[in-house]
């Protein structure tokens, strides 16, 4: 067995993540009820054999909504991290390539500036144009992720560039871009994956906050954050509605945080050897 599975954080994170991905995949083929179907007669029902976790104020089945919500959350994380990773790594490596020169200074200053805008505020700026929605929320979170990845990529690239084998590759006649792609990129991938895991967790939390505020995912798409907003209205009469979506967010975020921590530990000895 691969020793990675024996690392407690990595193992626990992997198990929880399998759970979340399993729920998302399951929702593609099966949910106990149609998550969008409203049954006014069965509104705000407590858990029962028919509805395992009860129903919301429109009589929608909570289990079905939470399952479909997993799909929503994973999609958000994937796209927001993808945006941050692609642009962030490209810009960070570019800055490192021109270290100390104008491009480096300009790129990093611009990214520091982007970083000063909390994701919620970027989302608000974007939605004044296009209206509230999942896509805008994801773009805003992705934009916030760019400087995070860029700083890491720049620092990591500078570390790798100083190695002898990079000089050897340059002497062997490889162009700078070729060295970047063939030798540096593979060497910083591990670090980027670790950061990606952490940012994945951040993206899910940020989308949940935005949807809770009503400026993220819009109905009828089920979103855990949105479900918590709805649940708050009925907190005194139907408290069970406020438990499950929050638990789902917490489990997903925990999964990616643990996975990231585990990966960082597992990659660490190799980083020291270099």
């Amino acid at each position: 067995m691969n020793p990675a599975w024996r690392h407690p954080s990595f193992g626990a994170g992997a198990v929880l993540m399998a759970l979340v991905i399993g729920a998302a995949l399951l929702s593609l083929v099966w949910t106990p009820h149609d998550p969008a179907a409203m049954r006014i007669m069965a509104r705000l029902k407590p858990p029962s054999a028919e509805h395992w976790l009860g129903t919301d104020q429109f009589g929608r089945d909570i289990v079905s909504m939470v399952l479909v919500g997993a799909r929503n959350a994973l999609l958000v994380g994937l796209v927001a991290v993808g945006i941050g990773l692609v642009f962030g790594v490209a810009l960070g490596m570019l800055a490192a390539l021109y270290r100390g020169r104008f491009i480096d200074e300009a790129v990093m200053r611009a990214l520091d500036f982007v970083f000063a805008f909390p994701a919620v505020l970027t989302a608000i700026l974007i939605l004044t144009w296009f209206g509230p929605g999942l896509v805008n929320a994801v773009i805003a979170i992705g934009i916030f992720n760019i400087p995070v990845f860029a700083r890491q990529a720049r620092a990591a690239t500078l570390q790798v560039v100083a190695q002898d084998y990079i000089r050897a590759a340059r002497l062997a006649g490889l162009s700078r871009p070729a060295v970047m792609i063939r030798h540096i990129l593979p060497n910083i991938t591990g670090l980027m994956i670790v950061q990606g895991s952490t940012q994945f967790a951040f993206a899910i939390l940020a989308e949940a906050s935005l949807s809770y505020l009503g400026i993220g995912t819009q109905p009828p798409n089920p979103s855990w954050g949105r479900m918590l907003n709805d649940a708050q209205t009925y907190l005194a009469t139907a408290p069970h509605l406020a438990i499950v979506p929050g638990l789902a967010i917490a489990i997903t975020v925990l999964a990616f945080n643990l996975l990231g921590d585990g990966l960082r530990d597992l990659l660490d000895p190799r980083m020291k050897e270099r």
Binding site: M108, F113, A116, F117, P118, A119, V120, L121, I124, L125, L127, T128, W129, A201, L205, A208, S209, Y212, L213, G214, I215, G225, L228, A231, Q232, L235, A236, P239, A242, P245, G246, I249, A250, I251, V253, L254, N257, L258
Partner: protein, 316 residues
């Protein structure tokens, strides 16, 4: 030193100006006609023109931008479209909730985070360390607004110790007002405290392996005395930097938690302004938040540069 200060200050002013310009372009120039956008599609051209005149949106963009910037010093930030009152007054009034809420949360997260982190480092790899580290993982994973809802469920609806939401106002009932801020501040502080505890633990562990700690122990100080007198001060410097960096998360958190607890602060005002398409109000509020985040980061940077001259050179 003077050159360092001037350079940093110039950089700060420039950053603030660019931030204001970006916000202004996004909210007032790029949408075309903000008056039409605020009134919606059903508005007649005459009423849109009237609103444009009323809100001072009919001048050239450059003049409006400069007027808006000047407004941050004179307090005249224009009229809110939805409230029809001065934006400057609205913001000032709401600060009485948001500022105490953020400071309370900041204080709570610092005290909780440093105490738990130090305890965990002092008992590294023992049971209490594992429990604290487990709790911090939960603290990082639980969304602050859900934690707020759970606190309401237990302490407001269940036990009735705190109000479930709302804010009577400092003048009307100071003690109830303070109590109304406790649960939201605690929910806001929780994720921050969790990450501060983790950082405190790791910097503290590093500090505790230093030679001067062994010297302090060798001269007869107890472990607790060594930590309090020698280790804590050194371990806290990186912790304070992280606290500064996290300030923008804290600020964003107030937006969410003011909405959970129906507190009449800036964050609730912002979400209401979005609901009412009140671009005039959104513009000043967003700049206010961003400027606060930028200024706090600059202060932390500056403090760090003054404390450690090696950091004045800039990026490495």
């Amino acid at each position: 030193m003077a050159l360092f200060l001037i350079k940093r200050l110039a950089g700060l002013v420039l950053t603030l100006l660019v931030a204001a310009l970006v916000i202004f372009l996004v909210l007032e120039v790029l949408p075309g006609d903000p008056a039409a956008m605020m009134m919606g599609v059903s508005a007649t051209p005459e009423s849109v023109a009237a609103l444009r005149a009323e809100l001072g949106l009919d001048g050239p963009a450059a003049t409006r931008f400069l007027d808006w910037l000047a407004g941050f010093f004179t307090g005249n930030l224009g009229l809110s479209y939805t409230y029809r009152v001065a934006v400057g007054g609205l913001i000032a009034e709401r600060l009485a909730v948001t500022v105490p809420l953020s400071l309370l949360a900041l204080g709570l997260s610092l005290v909780l985070g440093v105490t738990l982190g130090t305890w965990a480092a002092a008992h590294a790899h023992r049971r209490s360390d594992l429990v604290i580290m487990g709790l911090t993982q939960l603290g990082l994973a639980i969304p602050n607004f859900w934690f707020g809802i759970l606190l309401v469920l237990v302490f407001a609806i269940g036990l009735g110790w705190f109000p479930a939401g709302g804010f009577p106002g400092w003048a009307a009932d100071p003690s109830l007002s303070a109590r109304a801020l406790l649960l939201p501040a605690f929910a806001l502080a929780m994720p921050q405290a969790a990450s501060l505890a983790r950082i405190t633990r790791s910097t503290m562990l590093e500090t505790l392996s230093e030679d001067y700690i062994r010297t302090a122990r060798a001269k007869g100080l107890s472990r607790g005395q060594t930590i309090r007198r020698h280790a804590l001060r050194n371990a806290l410097i990186p912790v304070l930097t992280i606290l500064g960096l996290q300030f923008s998360f804290l600020l964003a958190g107030t937006i969410v938690l003011e909405n959970v607890f129906a507190l009449p602060g800036l964050g609730r005002l912002l979400i209401q302004a979005i609901g009412g398409h009140d671009l005039i109000l959104i513009k000043s509020l967003v700049l206010f938040y961003v400027a606060t985040a930028i200024i706090v980061n600059a202060i932390v940077d500056l403090a760090y540069g003054i404390a450690d001259p090696r950091l004045r050179v800039g990026r490495t």
